[in-house]
């Protein structure tokens, strides 16, 4: 039977807490249908619980990972706004991953925006009713604020804690009344981050910090060639160290990381390198170059782009290339696991807690319910922690030894055993009429299929929830194995297939090849390459047309388009067209991703050694509405820094089936002294909410490359950008 407290909409359920408190369970977004599908009509499984204890403590669990993007703070603001409590007084924890708990696609705020506010409002209305009935006064005469209900006419007041027991006896309001934006106190305010204190005094608990009695630490030796397997090993193994063969290689287990690493380094390990031992970035690029000349799977076909190209008065063609990219989270991947008393316990910094539990359950051959998962703070994510490879390793090991064990990657492991942003090769062509106006646009993206790779390894666990339904069905129909060049991966062309510019004939094609390199979601995914490519090539069109690149874009964007809104704001605030210091030049780019619109203007100069200096970036963002403008600003600053590392500094290359780079000396990150000034301007359009965590990354490489062109006349079409 469905709990009578469940609202008609299926979002909320109320119950009493021991000691006289109120608990409100909230079902979020996509999970609305989950109770019926998962558990018939016998149970309602909320994603998060809000608790109001009789001593007035208010707590709630977020079903998201805090990977630095600020969700702990922003989600608390949503709840606190409607509940009428001080957000800084709310105790925030992590949900245990009973349901899909994937953090990706810049979805956290969008998904929780309605249900969390609705939950706060429902609880508030129940507490107001409890007060009003207790005092025998009309509800309308009572006011809730600061975690208490007051009756101004009589001067009475009661804390939420005092009212919680009575409130818990009421049905949950079906249509709680949400506040008008003009009434908001914390939404839209730059509330300081709730996790800041623990991150400046060393007390924040990351995965690597988990302490357990008798904890062992393992380092895993993995095949340097992707797909290789352990052939054998030899060497001295002291009494205090054990070596255990696991699926991914050889685990060396000791009391502490340093001991395990030292012993592991002394072992001679042989690998059967498998079929990919001759793979290289260069050979892949050669293959892609050939494929790009052929036709790909059509994704956008407006007008007659190819025909128009042939008929056009003039045309241009360009090749854009992007390498593999690593995530390089500052906290190396790790997971602690302990199999005991018929359960498997894991402690893990993850963007995918539910997937982690499922992976553990599969290895231990137990029900997912018997995997107890503890989400820790995560030292960066960027998509890397959507994978569960480190969970599988730790659980497989824990299943074989009688102690809790932590698998900890070295930086070398982390760089060389990542799930990479794919290497992609882009062929672009455009035709012009006699006046220099663009009449056709053709873009062919070639790259290995990210989705096929993810689907093939996670099918046993589940398919990521944000993969579009048709893709999932398509892959299932194919048995997940037959991913040939005739299938187009939607992530390959995302950010390319819907050209925002008004060009009459557009043809966007993709060729998704098979995969030998592990691929994964990398901050902004396909947008991360297509933002660079599309905005670079449109800049080339402006140059051919002889029109200022800002003005050229503006003319080709719809008058009321949000793309144009951010473009104009960024240009205006950057002083586009104004005089600059000698040797400096501006470049501009704009890109839509995850429902948000971002434009950036980069100011660069070129050094004596032909190195590119980025002095300043002006960024305009329209995410509909900023829940916490300071966090939005911080995410833009961070996304620009992340994108600049890929634009200027680093790449992953493959030779002989191996990743060449290994640590920050050959995979350098943007440094402090290289960080430009960043000015962020938020355009509050009031439109539907968009994402924030990823959306600042796609335009930056292009803004810089376009500025380099303005400064030097050299068009750079390959990342990382190199003038010499």
């Amino acid at each position: 039977m469905i709990d009578p407290g469940l609202t008609r909409r299926g979002f909320l359920v109320a119950s009493s807490l021991a000691g006289g408190g109120l608990a409100l369970g909230v079902s979020l977004g996509r999970s609305q249908a989950a109770p019926a599908a998962d558990a018939g009509d016998t149970a309602f499984a909320p994603d998060v619980w809000i608790r109001i204890e009789s001593d007035n403590r208010i707590s709630f669990q977020i079903d998201r990972a805090e990977i630095g993007q600020g969700v702990m703070t922003a989600l608390t603001q949503l709840l606190a706004e409607e509940l009428e409590v001080d957000p800084t007084s709310v105790e925030v924890g992590f949900a245990p991953g009973d349901k899909m708990q994937m953090v990706g696609g810049s979805s956290s705020i969008r998904r929780s925006w309605e249900p969390l506010r609705r939950a706060g409002a429902a609880a508030r209305e129940m507490l107001v009713r409890a007060a009003a009935e207790g005092w025998g006064v009309p509800e309308a005469e009572c006011v809730a604020s600061g975690a208490q209900v007051r009756h101004p006419a009589s001067g009475r007041s009661a804390s939420y804690g005092e009212l919680a027991a009575r409130a818990a006896t009421y049905p949950v309001p079906e249509e709680p009344k949400l506040k008008e934006p003009a009434e908001w106190k914390t939404i839209g305010q730059p509330l300081p981050r709730l996790d800041a204190r623990s991150k400046v005094d060393g007390s924040a608990q990351f995965g690597i910090d988990v302490e357990l009695s008798g904890l062992r630490t393992a380092v895993v030796l993995r095949s340097p060639v992707f797909g290789g397997t352990l052939a054998g090993y030899s060497g001295e193994l002291p009494d205090d160290v054990t070596a255990v063969e696991i699926s991914s290689g050889l685990a060396v287990v000791a009391d502490g990381y340093w001991r395990a690493r030292q012993v592991a380094d002394g072992l001679e390990v042989e690998w059967d390198e498998g079929e990919h031992a001759s793979l290289s970035s260069a050979s892949m690029t050669d293959a892609f170059r050939e494929l790009a000349l052929e036709r790909g799977k059509s994704l956008t076909d407006e007008g007659d782009a190819i025909g128009e190209l042939e008929r056009s008065a003039s045309s241009i063609e360009a090749i854009y290339e992007l390498p593999f990219q690593a995530h390089a989270t500052m906290e190396p991947q790790n997971c602690t696991a302990w199999v005991h008393d018929g359960i498997c316990e894991i402690w893990v910094p993850t963007q995918n807690l539910n997937g982690a539990r499922r992976a553990a359950a599969k290895i231990c051959e137990i029900d997912t319910e018997r995997v107890v998962a503890h989400q820790t703070m995560a030292g960066g994510g960027f998509g890397r922690r959507a994978e569960v490879d480190f969970v599988s390793e730790a659980v497989e090991l824990a299943n074989k030894i009688d102690a809790p064990v932590r698998v900890l990657f070295s930086r070398e492991d982390d760089i060389q055993h990542d799930y990479y942003r794919p290497l992609t090769y882009h062929r672009l062509r455009a035709g012009f009429d006699a006046e220099g106006q663009p009449t056709s646009w053709c873009h062919h993206v070639v790259g290995p299929s990210l989705i096929a790779d993810i689907a093939s390894r996670s099918a046993a666990i589940y398919l990521p929830a944000w993969v579009p339904g048709p893709v999932v069905r398509g892959l299932r129909a194919l048995g997940l194995s037959v991913i040939g060049s005739w299938i187009a991966d939607p992530t390959t062309a995302e950010g390319a297939r819907e050209l925002p510019y008004e060009i009459a004939n557009v043809c966007v094609e993709a060729t998704s090849t098979g995969r030998a390199v592990p691929l994964g979601f990398w901050r902004s995914v396909g947008h991360s390459h297509n933002g660079f490519v599309v905005e670079g090539f449109i800049d080339e069109l402006a140059a051919v047309a002889g029109v200022d690149p800002f003005e050229f874009r503006r003319r080709l964007l719809g008058e009321h388009s949000r793309n144009r809104g951010v473009l104009e704001l960024a240009a205006e605030r950057a002083g586009w067209g104004n005089p600059l210091p000698a040797g400096h030049a501006l470049g501009i780019a704009q890109h839509e991703s995850f429902g948000s619109f971002v434009a950036q203007v980069a100011e660069v100069s070129i050094g004596d050694a032909q190195e590119i200096h980025v002095h300043r970036v002006v960024c305009a963002v329209d995410c509909g509405r900023a829940i916490n403008p300071d966090i939005v600003t911080a995410q833009m600053e961070g996304a620009i820094a992340f994108g600049l590392t890929a634009a200027l500094k680093s790449e992953i290359t493959l030779e002989r089936g191996r990743v060449v780079q290994s640590n920050f000396h050959d995979f350098p990150l943007l440094r402090f002294n290289e960080m430009p000034e960043v000015e962020v301007h938020i355009l509050e359009s009031g439109a539907e909410l968009g994402g924030i965590g990823e959306v600042g990354t796609p335009p930056i490489a292009s803004a810089v490359a376009n500025a380099v062109y303005a400064a030097t006349g050299k068009r750079l079409r390959k990342l990382p950008l190199r003038l010499s």
């Binding site: 805090e66 990977i67 630095g68 993007q69 600020g70 730059p190 300081p192 981050r193 996790d195 800041a196 204190r197 623990s198 991150k199 400046v200 005094d201 060393g202 007390s203 924040a204 608990q205 990351f206 690597i208 910090d209 302490e211 630490t217 502490g256 990381y257 340093w258 390089a328 989270t329 500052m330 906290e331 190396p332 703070m377 995560a378 030292g379 960066g380 994510g381 960027f382 900890l408 070295s410 930086r411 300071d630 911080a634 600053e637 961070g638 620009i640 820094a641 992340f642 590392t645 640590n663 920050f664 000396h665 990150l669 943007l670 440094r671 402090f672 002294n673 960080m675 000034e677 960043v678």
Partner: protein, 161 residues
Amino acid sequence: MAIRLNVNGVERSVEATADTPLLWVLREDLRLTGTKFSCGRGFCGACTVHLDGQPVRSCSLPVGAAEGKNVTTIEGLSSDASHPVQTAWIAENVPQCGYCQSGQIMSAAALLANNPRPSDADIDTAMSGNLCRCGTYIRVRRAIHRAADQLAESAERGGER
């Protein structure tokens, strides 16, 4: 072998080989986990602590080299996050994921101890060895200036008294 060192004002003796990096002694023997492991080769600064007041990369410093010396970790900077660098960090909302921040803060605290009014160029020199993948650098710079202002104010008030 037993190695003696003073950590956050307390004399400690640990059993370790002299070549064990100080980082692992701090984290695994002394359970001071605020100091972080990230690159293991001194490239990134996440493991920065003070050795007799100077910033060092504890992942690459053999514990034997710290014998008899004073080590300060993030846990020893203040007991209540009240060090001017820590309060400035909170005021500027610096951390994102937070993983590199112990190292950033220890580098900044060492800079200000030696140079209470650093220029932007001084800050560049002192902070360019501390990597942050979240890209908090702009706020780190602002927070260092803010902490310097606060130190100057405190010194002024102290001078008046």
